[in-house]
Subunit: 229 residues, 2 copies
């Protein structure tokens, strides 16, 4: 029974990793479709996302079965409830990929607004954060996970910069408005992907240390409850 | 023990309802701040959201304790895992309120771009969906919950309409670009609130019927697994 449970947890982990890999791939593919003005590639993203949706339902179902049949405690319980949340986060990453693919598709019909400002850089950063968060998840590596959370600011600041640049394009040349708008939306989707990667990393810390770090809960606790800070 | 557990579940439900009420209030307040160009009101939203963040952590903690100590089965287990997700959804609603308050604040410094197109209407719809989803949650009312899910399309279509109108403002008068951009972002935040209300409603169906309706899983299952459709 014990060994069976261990194997079930390993399978859950593998399944989440496969889903994470697909979610990351969808984001990179959608930005690639945007960069290469490739409508066929953008269309692939919609089909890829259907697979992610299906995986989400399967993983949820597996988590519930494990909770019901194994009645896990302590770290195993944290692992399974965190898996429920990571599952949800990864599904949302897929949705952001779909949004980006939608923008890519609409933009193939119009002349390219180049350069794509810092969007490819944002995609690389957000994709990298997600990839590393999943690596940290596999290794229960809270230290790496904390480092990932701190990188979220970098993506936020790129997003603000992209926003400012694109608004100034629009003001200078109103003909660029529709295209610049699409790119602003793409940048926001990438910023959300980085947020979701941060959520995953926060869950990794929670699994490893039973410590909540989201909303800066650590500082909140130390300020309010212990009079430090 | 059994009675104690029932009481714990009731308390969890009450806590989620309080959080839901606060999340709904934050959205309405942020749109009110936008409409009335009221910076003080917008600033209140940031403080309100801190309370929601704290509630999220408390509710998560309560759910984990219930899972560990009570080892619930069937509908109780579905209720608690759904509570974990609803908790997360409501916290995100709060974040969207914060985003809207940020736009409201930046817009107080500029002449009003009026009318606010269909934004107040979107806020009313999205807030109403959230309110009713929480009502359905209290009553385990799957029928109402399904009806809420269908209303999401209405908000999506308003969002597209707002987008088109505001882009045409920008094209006609580039001086409106920054302001119109903010309003487009507000509309997208409201559209996301409606999505999150839909998620809550989907969880209500799951609790009541043990049936997954997100991603149109019912149709997927009937097409793929049973050869119908």
């Amino acid at each position: 029974m014990e060994r069976h449970f261990e194997r079930e947890l390993e399978e859950l982990k593998d399944q989440l990793l496969r889903m994470g890999g697909r979610a990351e791939a969808i984001v990179l593919k959608s930005v690639d479709a945007l960069r290469r003005r490739d409508a066929a590639l953008a269309n692939e993203v919609f089909a890829d996302d259907k697979v992610i949706d299906r995986l989400e339902i399967d993983i949820d179902d597996r988590c519930l079965r494990l909770l019901a049949l194994q009645q896990p405690m302590a770290r195993d319980l944290r692992f399974i409830t965190a898996a429920l949340k990571i599952n949800n986060d990864l599904e949302r990453v897929g949705d952001h990929g779909v949004n980006i693919a939608g923008s890519a598709l609409r933009l193939t019909e119009q002349p390219l607004l180049k350069p794509l400002v810092d969007i490819p850089r944002m995609a690389e950063l957000a994709g990298g954060m997600l990839h590393e968060a999943l690596d940290a998840f596999v290794r229960h590596d809270a230290e790496t996970a904390r480092r990932i959370c701190r990188r979220d600011d970098e993506v936020d600041s790129l997003n603000r910069q992209v926003f400012r640049e694109l608004v100034s394009y629009m003001v200078e040349d109103p003909q660029t408005i529709t295209r610049a708008m699409e790119l602003i939306l793409v940048a926001r989707n990438l910023e959300r992907v980085a947020d979701l990667a941060t959520n995953v990393a926060e869950e990794v810390v929670f699994i490893a240390e039973a410590r909540v770090i989201k909303h800066h809960a650590e500082e909140l606790a130390s300020d309010e409850d212990f009079g430090r800070g």
